[in-house]
Structure formats: structure tokens, C-alpha cells
């Protein structure tokens, strides 16, 4: 099966997308478009067959930053005194009929390469994912670690687990 990863187009048919997760489907069908084309607060990449306008999977990302709270004054000098740029993978879903065919990995791989590109062009220290409970082992196997945050979690219930993978580790994996 030949698959291409590209940005979501306005004329893509998202109406029949069904991953088996209501929240993942609702976001993609109803909000991924306006999120990208109207509000410009995130970009969605889709996995499609060549020349098809029917996405089989998607990943939504946005640029974000990490702030460090309660920095002790004596150690302040060694810590960055400005927000640290990251790429945040907020949603990733694959249609039920195409699950277990490697599409999630293809989408994630695309996002990791995007993070490397951002690192070179604007700066990026790593990728943050908001992982659902059932996806934790998938991300853990790839080296993502649990990122305890005090502010900035997604408004989804149940709250997904925030995880982090350093750009240095991603870069090392290419060697």
C-alpha cells in the first residue's frame, strides 16, 4: 500500500473518518480544518493514498514552548531565561480500517523530521506528545518520557499523558 504524508487540504473528505475514538474523530471531522485554515493555531498532516482526498490517518501539531517555574536565583544563570521552543503533537489517529499497517509510525516519523527541520530553522528542543493511556507503550518504546507539567495540559477528558522526546535524541537516532 503506497501512502503519502502531506498537509491537510481544504477539499479533503474527513466526513467518514472513524478511528474508534470519538474524541479523535470529532476533532478531525469538525475542528482540524478551522484549526488550520481559520484560526492558524495548529497544522494537521494526513496519511493518504496518492492523489486521494480521503485521509486514512492524521497528526495535528502546533508550535509551543516550555517555561520553567520557580527557578532558584543562585542557579538562574545556567537556565534559559526565556521560553524553550518545542513541537507539540496534540492528536494522532488512524482510521479503523487502516490500523496496524504502520500509518501511525509514518505520521510520527514525519513529525519527528518536521521537528528536526524546525530545530535548524527556528529552534526546537524536542517533541511533546499528549498520549492517551492505550498509546503510552507505543511512545515509551520510541524513547518518549513522561513530562510532569504544572500548567498547559489539553482540555480532553480523561487527561492524556504529556511525554517528551529530546531533539538531540532524535538527531542521534539518524546516525
Amino acid at each position: 500500500m503506497k501512502i503519502e504524508i502531506r498537509k491537510l487540504h481544504k477539499n479533503d473528505d474527513r466526513s467518514s473518518f472513524s478511528s474508534g475514538d470519538i474524541e479523535i474523530d470529532r476533532f478531525f471531522v469538525n475542528f482540524a480544518g478551522q484549526n488550520q485554515f481559520k484560526h492558524k493555531i495548529g497544522t494537521t498532516y494526513v496519511a493518504c493514498m496518492p492523489k486521494s482526498n480521503r485521509p486514512l490517518g492524521y497528526a495535528t501539531v502546533s508550535i509551543g514552548s516550555i517555561n520553567i517555574e520557580n527557578i532558584k536565583k543562585k542557579e538562574f544563570s545556567k537556565l534559559p531565561n526565556y521560553p524553550i521552543p518545542i513541537l507539540r503533537l496534540a492528536r494522532l489517529g488512524v482510521d479503523q480500517n487502516y490500523q496496524k499497517k504502520g500509518l501511525a509510525k509514518m505520521l510520527l516519523r514525519h513529525i519527528l523530521f518536521l521537528a528536526l527541520e524546525l530545530k535548524d530553522k527556528v529552534g526546537c528542543v524536542g517533541v511533546v506528545v499528549d498520549a492517551k493511556k492505550e498509546a503510552l507503550s507505543f511512545y515509551e518504546a520510541l524513547g518518549f518520557e513522561i513530562l510532569p507539567i504544572t500548567f498547559g495540559e489539553l482540555g480532553i477528558k480523561p487527561t492524556p499523558q504529556t511525554m517528551f522526546l529530546s531533539i538531540k535524541t532524535i538527531q542521534k537516532a539518524l546516525k
Binding site: H39, G64, I86
Partner: protein, 84 residues
């Protein structure tokens, strides 16, 4: 009737805000109130669960242990990055 609010913001935002106020000739209080109203209106247009917060806050220990440390990639990550 007017009232006062206070809150911590980044130095970068403060600098941008002050430069904008100076350039536009508008009072800071007016800009702040308009910005707040725009923000609240924008947020009300969007359901809470589709907004991706742009900023994550962590503590210093997490920074030291996770963000600032270089770690070896897992075999699964190496395989993924080399797939065609």
C-alpha cells in the same frame, strides 16, 4: 468605574507591549482591556478541548532530568528514523 488587575508576564511580552503602547500612542490600560476582550471572545468561539495550549510549565527538576539531558536513542526510534 475602573479597577486594577495584576499578574506576572514574561519580560519579552512586557517589552513588546510597552513598545506597542509607545508606537500606537494608546494607553496601556486600554490596550490591556482590548487584548483581554479579544482573547476571551476568541476562546469562547472554540470548544475548550480543541485548544492546544501553547505553553507548558515545568519545574526546574524536570528541566534538569528531561529537557537538558542527552539520552541514547532506543532501537525502535533508530529503526523508525531509518524507514523509507
Amino acid at each position: 468605574m475602573q479597577t486594577q488587575v495584576s499578574g506576572y508576564i514574561s519580560q519579552e511580552t512586557k517589552t513588546t507591549f510597552e513598545a506597542f503602547a509607545k508606537k500606537s500612542g494608546q494607553k496601556k490600560g486600554f490596550i490591556l482591556e482590548q487584548a483581554l476582550l479579544h482573547y476571551i471572545n476568541a476562546r469562547q468561539e472554540l470548544p475548550e478541548d480543541i485548544v492546544i495550549p501553547p505553553t507548558l510549565t515545568i519545574d526546574q527538576q524536570t528541566f534538569d532530568e528531561l529537557i537538558d539531558k542527552e539520552k541514547a536513542p532506543s532501537e525502535a526510534l533508530k529503526k523508525l528514523m531509518h524507514e523509507n
